[in-house]
């Protein structure tokens, strides 16, 4: 189960301010904290800066990699921004994201092919965000086939079911879980990823929704998550679910986390 640390996102007020004021120390610390909490990739996003997204994204990659020894997840809808950031990135990053929309696909696929980077694929087509489960699965399937035809190995494909907030569509959770199950069944070798907080957008008391979704999605076959690893309750729940899913031989990881005090200080 892959963890992508989500905190360095310009849509968060404190991160926006830090990027704006070029507070390198603060941002490096946020990256370090996420890695120490167990993140495998660190997501970086400068999308809130419409005027200089490209420059700022590249800058973020540069300073974060001074601090941590993990690959980054380069998060932008803009192919130029992704390209500039990838040039600065040491090693192979993850690309966040491509979709089945024609312009976006064409803009990003050359970067994916050339770099052999793992890539997150959103289930959106030129017809928009699919409103039914069947449509979602269909778009996912088409996207996977097209990526494979373009030489991207299944092991590098991370499909995101792209869930609508429950506040807009209260069947979105059930639809999302079914979509994950069906994609998992159709394409056992592909990875499935989701953000933990998409569903709860627009609702109060979001934490419990995020937590519940993470666990339910893992049971349905999701094997990567974009979340805040510095949320101890979320990570504790994740570790327990990982154990239950049979990903923890002799329960050693779980016992080790206990010994490290990762389950202390909250209930």
């Amino acid at each position: 189960m892959l963890i992508i640390g989500e905190r360095i996102n310009s849509s968060r007020k404190e991160i926006f301010k830090a990027i704006e004021s070029r507070d390198e120390g603060f941002l490096r610390q946020v990256a370090r904290q996420q890695v120490e909490a167990g993140a495998d990739y660190i997501d970086v996003n400068a999308g809130a800066f419409s005027e200089n997204e490209e420059g700022l994204l590249a800058w973020l990659v540069n300073i974060v990699q001074k601090e941590i020894d993990r690959p980054l997840c380069i998060d932008s809808p803009n192919p130029n921004a992704i390209e500039k950031a990838m040039r600065v990135h040491k090693g192979t990053p993850m690309i966040n994201s491509i979709s089945f929309e024609e312009n976006r696909y064409r803009g990003i696929i050359p970067l994916a092919k050339e770099s052999r980077a793992p890539i997150i694929g959103l289930c959106i087509s030129d017809e928009g965000i699919p409103k039914t489960e069947d449509e979602k699965v269909r778009v996912a399937d088409k996207l996977i086939h097209r990526l494979a035809d373009d030489g991207i190995p299944f092991d590098h494909i991370f499909i995101d079911p792209t869930l609508q907030p429950l506040a807009i569509d209260s069947t979105s959770g059930r639809m999302g879980l079914n979509t994950i199950r069906r994609i998992r069944a159709l394409h056992p070798e592909v990875h499935i990823v989701s953000g933990s907080s998409n569903l709860s957008h627009g609702l109060p008391s979001r934490k419990f929704i995020n937590r519940a979704f993470l666990l339910m999605a893992m049971a349905a076959g999701m094997d990567a998550a974009i979340l805040d690893p510095c949320d101890p309750v979320l990570m504790a729940s994740f570790k327990a679910a990982d154990l239950i899913m049979g990903e923890d031989d002799f329960c050693l990881k779980y016992i080790q986390s206990h010994r490290e005090g990762k389950f202390k200080g909250f209930s």
């Binding site: 999308g47 809130a48 419409s50 809808p77 959106i124 030129d126 928009g128 429950l166 506040a167």
Partner: protein, 210 residues
């Protein structure tokens, strides 16, 4: 007027079964359709918009109130047309080319209709020419542009420039909105107005139409 008060209250509760019945009752007792609209439905929707802005209620609650509003309007609209009640203004809304986000735009549409405006929804991923045509054909008071991506924001400037080229820029006020949009951006591209959320959008529209 008690029944108008009840309409507003039931709308606020999102009671989409009760609101049309109450609208019908108000019509039977001879209350003018335009008054039912302003003092019943719009009054209720104004409270909903305000409470949403203050984070007292949440998106799904706004949506069911909007549903109750629509249900009430189904009953009221034919009677409004009959009595020639003047709608407060005409607005064309759309999400710019390359962008498929529409939740905010749809919310603005519902609140504007709730406030008694005629809204023409051009949809999502709208090409520039379609916006220009919509302004030429419908002659709205306001053209509202929505974008949620930093990559599609620049389209807003292009729409405004195309309106200038087509010679219709001065016939319409242009408003812009969406999560990455700012007051500064709106000014920089030559828009006439900006609002940070749906409830504020209604206030701004009222201000611009006068």
């Amino acid at each position: 007027m008690e029944v108008l008060q009840k309409i507003s209250e039931e709308l606020q509760k999102g009671n989409f079964k009760e609101v049309p019945k109450l609208v019908q009752e108000a019509l039977y007792t001879g209350i003018a359709p335009s008054k039912i609209l302003s003092d019943g439905l719009v009054a209720g929707m104004d409270v909903v918009g305000e409470r949403f802005r203050m984070d007292e209620i949440f998106l799904p609650e706004v949506l069911i109130s909007a549903k109750a509003m629509q249900a009430g309007m189904e009953v009221l609209r034919p009677r409004l047309v009959e009595t020639g009640a003047k709608l407060a203004g005409k607005i064309v809304l759309g999400t710019v080319k390359g962008d498929i986000h529409d939740i905010g735009k749809n919310l603005v549409k519902m609140l504007l209709e709730g406030a008694g405006y005629q809204v023409i929804d051009a949809g999502i991923d709208v090409p520039i020419e379609k916006f220009v045509d919509a302004v030429k054909i419908n002659r709205p008071n306001i053209l509202g542009l929505s974008a949620l991506l930093t990559t599609t924001m620049p389209m807003m400037k292009e729409v405004i420039e195309s309106l200038i080229e087509a010679g219709v820029r001065n016939n319409v006020k242009v408003m812009v909105g969406g999560a990455p949009i700012t007051e500064k951006f709106a000014k920089d591209i030559g828009a006439d107005g900006y609002a940070p959320d749906a409830a504020s959008a209604v206030v701004k529209v009222r201000e611009l139409i006068g």
